[in-house]
Symmetry: C2
Subunit: 253 residues, 2 copies
DNA sequence: GAGTGGTCTAGACCACCCT
DNA sequence: GGGTGGTCTAGACCACTCC
């Protein structure tokens, strides 16, 4: 007798599981609904818990699940679009951006940042920490590196550190004319401090957006912003409603 | 006696391992160099192979390692910058873009794409498949969806399918005036077909760039491009040399 | 055939959240 | 205290590459 499937390469179990569960999410679950726990799901599908977790890991990476230790696994809402397109002549903190300045310190930046800033390796810069919160959830943490020469009149300013000083640095920065900017997006994993602020575990996947700000032929500032890759989608130019994903799902009740 | 560390939360082993190996990569290995195999590394660090793999998984996610089944684990070169910033009035395939048109079919698009195109659910569209190769390596695969009304004069064209027809669709598309475009970037995992073209395993992390092209008040086309997240970095506006990463490493000999 | 990374198992213990 | 997800182990077998 002939074989119906000539040369089958067996599909990994976790991959098949991911497909099955993914389809179930679309048809049988509403956003926010809680799934059976991992031990039960594993038993139900007849696999080891580690294998089931491999499937859930993927679904979480795709932003379709949300897992919280001690609580459970829930169906994630669609990713929220975060507009990262700036008019090429906007400094950070200009106009109505939703970032919250959190802190400001003076320190030597990592070597890679120093290189981007064209500063010497041991030169201290202002480091402004900001947080982006939308819909009540933290979605991004940013470090903005500002060499002292970019904000020459800062010395007389009020606060020595903290949010007040952070806002002062941003305000001083806006006095420069911005000639242009540069941007790159890549995948990374959350460092411990970012993870804490983003309410995730260290190592969680993040989208890292690095930006250089040019003024007067120099790199006047640079920023490294880490966005939660599970819950958000970076949009450029008003693509906030763009949503290419699985079939539309039922809303939470 | 007092405890020197008041309330220590033990750092996971794999996290510590990742740090240790990451530092070793910077100081003791050159790009392209092959690491000891996983069983030996696990033994050397006194952990189970699964734990070691968790650390390597992270380093691979960050683009610092490259693993190939049957071959071994090598130190990855720095991510290659791929410029995805388009002049707002450029159609895909215009001017000197490096994409290779591979194929063209006529099919009903996924529901989410149909929604983005404002077409009815059962309407067939041209689907152009393209591949982006830089430095001899495939870095991205794209599906471009073009509703038939966007390329009205296509019917008389030569080839019924294949690369020739793909180029014909792109050529016809360029006859429209492009009013603007939209863009979003998010994290995804490679589908089986994309994975094959990108020389990765299914489920590998990818950066998904979705673009809508507007013309004459309509969405004239939409594309979904998947970029290898391990090997590339999306750049906007000439940030090709921007590289915020770990300390610079030695080059391959 | 030997060696590599990829998948899978069946357990164990831990950190965290809720009640 | 009971339940959840997160970490870890010590194995096993498989798919792939290269010699």
């Amino acid at each position: 007798m002939g074989t119906t499937q000539p040369e089958t390469v067996p599909e990994p179990k976790y991959w098949h599981l991911k497909t099955v569960i993914g389809e179930a999410l679309d048809s049988e679950f509403a956003v926010g609904e809680i799934l059976p726990n991992e031990r039960e799901l594993a038993a139900r599908f007849g696999v080891a818990r580690a294998t089931l977790r491999q499937a859930l890991d993927q679904l979480e990476l795709e932003g379709r699940l949300q897992r919280r230790r001690g609580v459970g696994t829930t169906v994630a809402p669609p990713r929220v679009g975060v507009d990262v397109s700036t008019s090429p002549n906007d400094w950070p903190g200009a106009g109505g951006d939703a970032w919250q300045a959190a802190d400001c310190t003076l320190a030597v930046p990592p070597a890679a940042v120093a290189r981007a800033l064209d500063t010497e390796g041991d030169e201290t810069v202002h480091i402004v920490r900001r947080l982006l919160v939308t819909h009540g959830r933290p979605v991004a943490a940013e470090l903005l590196y500002v060499p002292a020469p970019s904000v020459p009149d800062l010395s007389a300013i009020d606060a020595p550190a903290g949010a007040t000083r952070a806002r002062a640095v941003l305000r001083e920065l806006r006095r420069l004319t911005l000639d242009g900017q540069d941007r790159a997006v890549e995948l990374g994993s959350a460092r411990a401090d970012d993870a804490r602020e983003l309410d995730r575990l260290p190592g969680a996947p993040v989208l890292v957006v690095t930006t250089r700000y040019f003024s007067g032929g120099r790199t006047a500032a640079a920023s490294v912003a880490t966005y939660r890759a599970d819950t958000c989608r970076l949009t450029f130019g008003d693509a906030g409603d763009l949503e290419i994903r699985q079939p539309s799902r039922r809303r939470a009740c």
